[in-house]
């Protein structure tokens, strides 16, 4: 964590009040986003996203598994984030555990929707192979390699990119007697590309003083009183909301933050989509 002198703190807060942050950005401007897909060939899908100095990697591994008894026609998705000590020495061993679990929970909330499956970014019923017996288990792992603020947004973008890069092998099910486990044949050619148009983007608004900024660096985030992360999908509907930070917020402020993030989400989603498409095109050119 960067230590800040009193003068630096005043500088950051004053700048935000005047809509001119320390790196010259306005309050609602994102840092340049850099997306690279297919960085981990062994995984079913992967992506790396750089947001200024924040660097995260997301990977998707798919395994065959048994669906949960309460939802036999749905697959399972497990999201886990790991903060590597290369980002901060404080993350070594159990130090990063709290932050990792907070990020994992926030990602799950934003991407998996309500219990009945409504509003989910990923359609779980598309992951089912044989109802009640076999389904795909998706393990989405996020890794924080370098941390300079706004981890949740970067992880959300990385998961979106990794899922659009994911290719699930085609499954042939040999018919079997009703109580036997059916035999499954995985073909070597891949296809089932994921439809990621439903996946929302996560926007974190950090409140410093009376104003909110988007995409804060770790210095700016150390001055925050609270932060609200809103996940908005392409249709402009809110798919998840998490409030972080210790200070209380007036309800009208929260509603205002929601409308600001909805406004910003359009630009962000378009930017992300074009970056991901460019990255995929790049990857294909390599072969």
């Amino acid at each position: 964590m960067v230590g800040l002198s009193v003068g630096e703190k005043h500088f950051i807060k004053g700048g935000i009040e005047q809509d001119l942050r320390t790196d010259g950005r306005k309050r609602y401007t994102y840092r340049p986003i850099y997306v690279e897909t297919g960085v981990i060939p062994q995984a079913n899908g992967s992506a790396r996203v750089k947001l200024g100095a924040t660097d995260v990697i997301a990977s998707v591994k798919a395994e065959l598994g048994k669906p949960s008894p309460s939802y036999p026609d749905k697959g399972k998705v497990l999201i886990n984030v790991d903060c590597s000590p290369t980002a901060e020495p404080a993350f070594e061993g159990r130090g990063g555990e709290e932050l990792s679990s907070e990020l994992s929970v926030a990602l799950q909330r934003c991407l998996l929707g309500g219990k009945s499956g409504a509003g989910a970014g990923i359609d779980l019923s598309s992951l089912s192979i044989v109802e009640g017996k076999i389904c795909w288990d998706l393990y989405i792992e996020g890794l924080v390699v370098s941390s300079d603020g706004n981890l949740l947004d970067a992880l959300g973008a990385a998961v979106k990119a990794a899922l659009s890069n994911t290719a699930l092998p085609k499954v042939q099910v040999a018919s079997a007697a009703s109580d036997e486990q059916p035999e499954v044949d995985l073909s070597d050619e891949e296809f089932l590309q994921f439809d990621t148009s439903g996946i929302p983007a996560i926007i974190t608004l950090t409140k410093v003083g009376k104003h909110y900024i988007v995409d804060g660096t770790s210095e700016e985030e150390s001055q925050m009183s609270s932060a609200v992360s809103v996940s908005v999908n392409k249709q402009g509907r809110i798919c998840g909301l998490t409030k972080r930070g210790g200070a209380g917020l007036n309800p009208s402020v929260i509603l205002d933050m929601i409308s600001v993030s909805k406004h910003l989400s359009e630009q962000l989603i378009n930017k992300l989509d074009s970056e991901i498409a460019a990255a995929e095109a790049c990857e294909e050119d390599e072969f």
Partner: protein
């Protein structure tokens, strides 16, 4: 366990007038005329039973029973911080939520207690005046005896009552309420069955007198007008719940005066 019939405070029900006229047509799955299984209106919360001083050996404690959700919270402290902790000129808060093995329908299903512990911490940290007990730690231990839906809001409300019972300085009591979205309906204080079918959930914990929200989580797909509506509903319910919490804090005093 005190009987439910004994001294139950009056039920608190957010006024239906916030719905601006129309009574919501019950559209839920296949049921044409869906009524909630316990007979409540969509905007009616379960009757709240709150008692302080449930555990004698703790600095402060509270027991809450909202329908089938039963929670007991003990507060210990302020007491000396653990060995290797750094000096801190503000107090520390340590929260722990655990489920008993018989709390859920299937044994040992309450496995997300780590997540609940951190959410409880976030809901309470904004309400406690940490500067009043530097170098020490306050431990909040919540035990869910029976999980009947809407667990976290009950845990938060009960914990803030226990903190008040322990004499910890608070900016205000924290009341929490959750709303479920089922189809087009907003249903407040859902039970377990309603929660498992929900399309979205909205949980808010706030300090009513200061009109400040300490914790807000939304899952599922929501449109902005729906969020405003849910927020209004919840804030109204929270302020009424806070009044009931205050009266349950005063009860032991009035009993001893007699």
């Amino acid at each position: 366990m005190a009987g439910k019939g004994a001294a139950t405070p009056a039920t608190y029900s957010p006024s239906l007038t916030t719905v601006k006229g129309k009574k919501k047509p019950p559209i839920f799955a296949d049921d044409a005329n869906w009524v909630r299984s316990d007979g409540r209106h969509f905007h009616q919360c379960r009757p709240a039973f709150l008692r302080t001083n449930a555990v004698n050996s703790a600095s402060g404690s509270a027991y809450a029973e909202f329908g089938n959700t039963k929670v007991i919270v003990s507060v210990f402290g302020p007491r000396e911080s653990k060995k290797a902790m750094m000096y801190s000129d503000v107090g520390r808060l340590n929260c722990n939520v655990s489920y008993t093995t018989f709390a859920t329908v299937h044994r040992n299903q309450g496995s997300d207690s780590k997540e609940l512990s951190s959410m409880l911490y976030k809901a309470l940290e904004g309400a406690i005046i940490l500067e009043s007990f530097p170098k020490t730690t306050v431990d909040v231990f919540a035990l869910v005896l029976e999980s009947g839906g809407s667990d976290l809001p009950v845990i938060i409300s009960c914990a803030s009552l226990a903190l008040a019972d322990a004499g910890i300085l608070l900016y205000d009591l924290v009341a929490a309420v959750s709303v479920s979205c089922l189809g087009k309906n907003l249903v407040i204080d859902p039970i377990l069955e309603e929660e498992s079918h929900q399309d979205g959930s909205f949980m808010i914990s706030c300090m009513p007198s200061r009109n400040e929200v300490t914790q807000l989580t939304v899952t599922g797909e929501w449109s902005t007008p729906k969020i405003s509506e849910a927020m209004e509903l919840c804030l109204d319910a929270c302020s009424k719940l806070a009044k009931i919490m205050r009266s349950s804090l005063r009860e032991p005093l009035s009993a001893s005066e007699e």
